[in-house]
């Protein structure tokens, strides 16, 4: 059993955001503050783990031609659970994330892992893969939101880190999100190029 590599690969080597460039829509929309980003990351990780496990359990019984709709239903079920839990225990977070919570259904990371990994592998491997991808997704999200929150408001998790810093409002607005993700993708490409 080689579960550790399956778990670790999602965090850096195949990071869903920076390397695979998957699931970017929610990443850009909710990365205005680290708190929102962590909430979104937790919800997405929960959905990933749940759907990867179920998909790897039912993979034998699902006919090949309708597998995508079947996977989507499984994913949508977990998204609904996440949505209801969030509404019950953290209504403020639910309001902040808005329509991006139901949109986890169409997050390409979740469907991509179900289709590319869980539908062919065993349950433990799928679980490890989902956990790693979820954590990698959350880390990427946290990194982007940290940059945006720091430059956009001079704060991190609500604490002022840069007193006297004139915040660049643009970083908190949509253009800032696109700029940060573009810059980061370029930066990681540069690192990759160096290594080779």
């Amino acid at each position: 059993m080689k579960l550790l590599p399956e778990f670790l690969k999602g965090i850096i080597k195949q990071n869903p955001i920076f390397v695979l460039a998957l699931g970017l829509c929610p990443v850009l929309a909710v990365s205005t503050s680290v708190k929102n980003a962590l909430g979104m990351g937790a919800a997405a990780t929960f959905v990933l783990v749940g759907s990867n496990c179920i998909v790897s359990l039912i993979k034998k019984g699902v006919p090949d031609t309708i597998r995508i709709p079947c996977f989507i239903i499984v994913i949508a079920t977990f998204v609904t659970i996440a949505e209801l839990v969030m509404k019950a225990y953290s209504p403020a977070l639910n309001r902040a994330l808005g329509i991006y919570v139901p949109l986890i259904v169409v997050n390409c990371v979740v469907l991509g892992r179900a289709e590319a990994f869980a539908s062919r592998r065993t349950l433990p491997a799928s679980l490890a893969d989902a956990l790693g991808m979820g954590i990698g997704f959350t880390l990427g999200l946290a990194l982007i939101s940290a940059v945006r929150e720091l430059l956009g408001s001079g704060q991190l998790l609500g604490y002022t880190l840069l007193p006297g810093f004139q915040p660049a409002l643009m970083m908190a607005l949509p253009p800032g999100a696109l700029l940060v993700i573009g810059g980061m993708l370029g930066f990681f490409n540069l690192l990759k190029g160096r290594k080779e």
Partner: protein, 202 residues
Amino acid sequence: MNAGHFLAIFISSIFVSNVILSRFLGLCSFIAISKETRPALAMSSAVLFVIVMSSAITWVVYNYLLIPFDLAYLRTISFILVIASCVQLVEMVIRKFMPALYRVFGIYLPLITVNCAVLGVAVLNTDMFFSRGKPLPGSFIFSVFQGVCVGIGYTLAMLLMSAIRERLEYSRVPEAVREFPIAFVTASLMSLSFMGFNGFRF
């Protein structure tokens, strides 16, 4: 329900909160398929069509099925099912009756199921035009109209982006930021310019 409402929806979904550039819906397809104008246009027209159809159908499902039976929490599941079957239907109809059109945008159709713009509009419609489980006056018309406008906004952003990226092909871009990174930076500048529409008042 008057012309002002329609104008507000029109301006806001095309310019002020453009689906792609300010709401970030449908970003994956926006980055992946905007390298050339022709496929970008084909994809946008397919998206426009599916958005309009699915906003009409999801409104009916939500108003006549989910609300009367107190099943509003099944919104996400039922909407994604409606969209998936809608896309499948469109694909079959086009393949049967319009083979020429099918060759142009057939391959993009399956992708639209997981395009967040489609589900996003359906969810937004129920958030905006329903209040406490009751449809607001004219909400069906508004939902469909919002679908049309969001589709137009998507097309506009796709066309602009693909035109810029066709030019980018000829410019010398540093190795590390080729393809995706430069596309994101371009999108950021476009988004910045679209924010100029924020000052519109009615």
